[in-house]
């Protein structure tokens, strides 16, 4: 399983994802600078969290014009796996690879804390290591995680993760993570790379990466 982690100017969770994939899961992985076009031999593209372009204008709004994004679009159309975490999720919605949009948190403040999530689908390549209906704990850290879509019925079946109990940011229908119709592009606000080791308080996130590895 070859992973590629895309680095935009301002991305800041790239090295955290790299560490989990390389040092915890022993999978081949490389960084991909946003000006590159090449995705040869990559099986899964990771769009990590951070503040691409400083979140200026709107989170993800500038990054979607980076050269690598056209290659990612092609890659996804051919069925390649793409996971966008936090800012990566925002970029995927801005790029139209996932439906909906992520607005400011209801509190208008940045929120960094652990939340409970319910796994709504385990039939995706990203969640096969979970049970359907399982409650897991992962941290969030964002300013703009308030998921919105004008017609919720369009994505009902694509919801993979929902906030369980408290809804931290006002997201519509408690949506924390969704896939595209084909199920090969996944965006989520929680940070699985931050909870992939016991010493950090939870290993629930590692199961997302393990699911990806298992899928191929």
């Amino acid at each position: 399983m070859n992973f590629g982690i895309v680095v935009f100017p301002g991305t800041n969770c790239d090295r955290d994802c790299y560490y989990v994939i390389k040092d915890i899961l022993n999978q081949p992985v490389r960084f991909i600078w946003h000006r590159e076009y090449e995705l040869k031999r990559i099986d899964c593209v990771v769009l990590p969290g951070g503040f691409s372009y400083g979140d200026y204008l709107r989170a993800g709004a500038i990054a979607r014009f980076s050269p690598i994004m056209s290659s990612i679009r092609e890659f996804a159309e051919k069925g390649g796996l793409v996971i966008g975490i936090c800012n990566g999720f925002q970029i995927l919605t801005e790029a139209g690879l996932l439906p909906g949009a992520l607005g400011r948190n209801k509190s208008l403040r940045f929120i960094c804390k652990y939340v409970n999530l319910i796994v709504e689908r385990n039939d995706t390549p990203f969640t096969s290591e979970f049970k359907k209906g399982e409650i897991v704990r992962m941290p969030i850290a964002h300013n703009e995680g308030n998921y919105y879509i004008d017609d919720l019925s369009k994505v009902k079946k694509q919801v993979v993760l929902r906030y369980y109990g408290e809804n931290p940011n006002g997201a519509l229908d408690n949506i924390a993570g969704i896939v595209n119709e084909k199920g090969n592009v996944f965006g989520l606000m929680p940070h699985p790379e931050r909870c992939s080791e016991k010493i950090l308080g939870s290993e629930d996130g590692l199961r997302i990466f393990k699911s990806i590895v298992r899928s191929i």
Binding site: Y19, D23, F110
Partner: protein
């Protein structure tokens, strides 16, 4: 000839001007005078503090770099070292809280970066007035948003700090920011060497912002200060993130960079002069080579601008093009603005024409160093006396009141706005010292900041010692061996003999304690003039301390671990001097804080050994609010109760709310009581009860005093700040 008024605008006295003139042997022109003024400002020149700061012990077996560089450095093992530094951004934050705090973060991060280290964590030690005051709420939320806005964006986790609300900080909030960073190999230095080598400005373009920020920071705040808002710089965290990555990439790929220097207060002037001074050389700068974001900037504006996110590099001549592409890849300026010269002067040119020329030593070694005139405040003896303390009718109510006050309550409203997890090293925060792991290493790091202005106000020598001791104790409680200190000394106007006395006494106390505990001070910062028309801040030395935990098995945390464990107190609780309770009851801070240095040394030594050999299950330091608050926190964090009975000759008030130090609460397996009592036999040790499933019950001399359920404690504690900030 300059007038006194003209000089006052740039915080210079007529006497200083005359002195500078006589050293120079002529009248300085406007550019030169501006450069002298910033370098002679308290902020850059440390003229009231440098003699006293020599008291600090600064060496030790682990110290790779003591004071004098952008940051101090401690050796962690044969491969890794850690850079650490703390700095204040008080004045700018009082005027423009968001940008003031944000640029404070930016500056300290660049100090760490200048040592060649990757910044891995930030801590913020914050002090404000009372939240009842709407302006305090504005300053508080602005500062927190500024730290969050900047720190979150650059991807450096904010993992700790302190939060204090006291009246004297109403008009002068204290914003002290600490950063630590990891580096491999030889630390970099902020020096320029090698005649002909290039001076390269990297990062953002230069604008008119922050001109004379350093001199502004060296004045008291007045109602006119708001007009000096232009002296506060604006930060661009995105640019800073690019700068971090570009510098680290350049250092990894090339050895052409000889020296790196943050460009902070006093901009190009101070960074080039400091680099020249450290390297024993001179520098020549061509101002038209500086990338500018505004048109028509004069040489003095360029030389004094404090535009953020810039750094100065000394690069080996002829090898500039090796690293230029790295900075261009990250979209940053890379401008050769000058070079190293032999003659020890700073020469400024504009289109080749010399517009200013000053000797380096005039701006460094020859900055006047003043002997402080000190006088013990007359009111001191009076405020150390506690009289007519009203009797507490309801101890439960008082415990809840203190627990729910912003000084004791949960600070989650603050730290949930900070990304405290990015970098995936954060193991524990918000409970005593913070713990970070180091990827690929068995050991972990403990970090903390501590300092109680209240104690220092009542007794600066004792208060200074307590700031150091409490930091060390907090580290020991998590199983970390203290290695080094960085500090931030926040005081009023040092030309006031009483303030000067406080300053000197506090530094003496800190020095004495760090010497006895064997913890060197490897860097720091002094912030004077924290006073305004109505208030002078408490004398507030803040200590930032780093420690090392041997491995994950020897981590200890403060919360209770399991039902049935036996609870002990080490040390002697008591003495209400300087306590929050006294302030609550009398409406003012009074009394003499008590601290036993010899006991501290013994206690820390034994406690560390006990934790290392895994004898105990939890350790919690007793500080602000006293034993009652410390026990309540242990219960809140663990969801476990206590059943305690304390036999004592002291009053209930003293036992529950006294803040004498050192006192530590530990819990142990009940089967190990004998072993523990034997182990700590040389210390005052008292068994007070056991950990239970839910009720929080404390008896004193077998009389019921507190009987509460944990949910009640939690509710008060968690809402302390939120209820003001809705």
């Amino acid at each position: 000839m300059r007038t006194r008024e003209e000089l006052q605008r740039i915080s210079m006295s007529l006497e200083e001007y005359e002195l500078a003139k006589s050293i120079l042997g002529r009248e300085p022109n406007d550019l030169e005078l501006g450069m002298i003024a910033v370098m002679w400002s308290e902020h850059c020149g440390y003229k009231h503090s440098k003699k006293i700061l020599k008291l600090f012990p600064t060496t030790g077996p682990h110290v790779l770099q003591g004071p004098g560089e952008n940051a101090g450095i401690i050796k962690l093992d044969e491969e890794l070292a850690l850079a650490m530094k703390m700095e204040s951004h008080n004045h700018p934050s009082a005027i423009e809280p968001y940008q003031g705090a944000a640029t404070g973060v930016g500056g300290i991060v660049r100090d760490i970066l200048a040592m060649g280290a990757r910044p891995i964590a930030l801590l913020d030690s914050l002090r404000f007035g009372l939240l009842e005051n709407p302006r305090t709420r504005y300053l508080f939320s602005g500062v927190v948003s500024g730290i969050a806005g900047y720190g979150n964006c650059i991807g450096v986790p904010t993992v700790g700090g302190e939060l204090v609300f006291e009246k004297p900080y109403t008009e002068n909030p204290l914003v002290n920011v600490m950063c630590i960073g990891l580096l491999k190999g030889k630390p970099k230095s902020g020096k320029a060497v090698g005649v002909g080598n290039s001076l390269v400005l990297v990062g953002a373009s230069t604008g008119r912002d922050g001109i004379h920020g350093a001199t502004f920071a060296s004045l008291e705040l007045t109602s006119d200060s708001i007009e000096r808002r232009p002296a506060v710089q604006a930060g661009d965290p995105f640019m800073e993130k690019l700068l971090i990555e570009a510098i680290l990439e350049a250092l990894e790929k090339s050895d052409a960079i000889i020296g790196i220097q943050d460009m902070g207060a006093a901009g190009i002037t101070s960074s080039s002069v400091e680099m020249a001074n450290r390297g024993g050389v001179g520098v020549e700068i061509e101002v038209t080579k500086v990338p500018q974001r505004e048109r028509g900037m004069k040489p003095e504006e360029i030389m004094l601008s404090e535009s953020q996110e810039r750094m100065l590099l000394c690069v080996e001549k002829g090898r500039e093009e090796e690293i230029r592409p790295i900075f261009e890849k990250w979209g940053l300026n890379f401008a050769i603005i000058g070079h190293v010269i032999e003659e020890k002067i700073v020469r400024v040119r504009e289109n080749g024409k010399i517009v200013g020329e000053l000797p380096i030593d005039l701006l460094t070694e020859k900055v006047p160093a003043y002997d402080l005139i000190t006088k013990e405040p007359e009111k001191l003896k009076e405020i150390q006396i506690i009289e007519n303390v009203p009797k507490i009718e309801d101890y439960e109510n008082m415990l809840l009141r203190l627990l729910g006050s912003p000084n004791c309550s949960s600070s989650s409203w603050v730290y949930e706005q900070y990304d405290h997890m990015v970098e995936t090293n954060t193991v524990s925060i918000g409970r005593g010292a913070s713990i970070l792991r180091v990827k690929g290493k068995p050991y972990l790091l403990g970090i903390t900041t501590d300092g109680e202005g209240r104690y220092c106000y009542l007794d600066p020598y004792i208060g200074g010692m307590m700031a150091v001791a409490e930091s060390a104790r907090n580290l020991i409680c998590v199983g970390a061996e203290p290695l080094a200190i960085t500090d931030c000394l926040n005081f009023g106007n040092p030309e006031d003999p009483e303030i000067a006395w406080y300053f000197v006494e506090a530094v003496k106390g800190m020095s004495e304690c760090s010497r006895r505990l064997n913890i060197p001070v490897i860097g720091g910062n002094v912030s004077f003039y924290n006073e305004s028309e109505n208030y002078t801040v408490y004398p507030t030395p803040v200590v930032g301390m780093l420690g090392k935990i041997e491995n994950a098995e020897t981590i200890c945390t403060p919360e209770f671990k399991k039902e049935g464990d036996t609870i002990y107190i080490l040390g002697e609780p008591g003495n209400l001097g300087g306590s929050l309770l006294i302030e609550e009851l009398l409406g003012e801070v009074r009394g003499k804080p008590s601290f036993d240095l010899e006991l501290e040394v013994k206690l820390e030594d034994l406690l560390f050994k006990a934790i290392k050999s895994r004898l105990i299950n939890s350790a919690q330091d007793v500080s602000r609010g006293g034993l009652g608050i410390a026990l309540a926190e242990c219960s809140i964090w663990s969801n476990l109760g206590i059943e305690a009975n304390i036999e004592t000759e002291k009053t209930i008030e003293e036992i529950l709310f006294g803040e004498a130090q050192p006192v530590v609460i530990i819990t142990v397996d009940s089967s190990r009581e004998k072993e523990i009592e034997q182990f700590f036999k040389d210390l005052p040790i008292k068994k007070i009860g056991k950990v239970t499933r839910n009720n929080f019950s404390i008896k004193i001399n077998s009389n019921d005093v507190i009987n509460l359920d944990i949910e009640t404690l939690k509710k008060e504690w968690s809402g302390g700040i939120e209820r003001w900030m809705k």
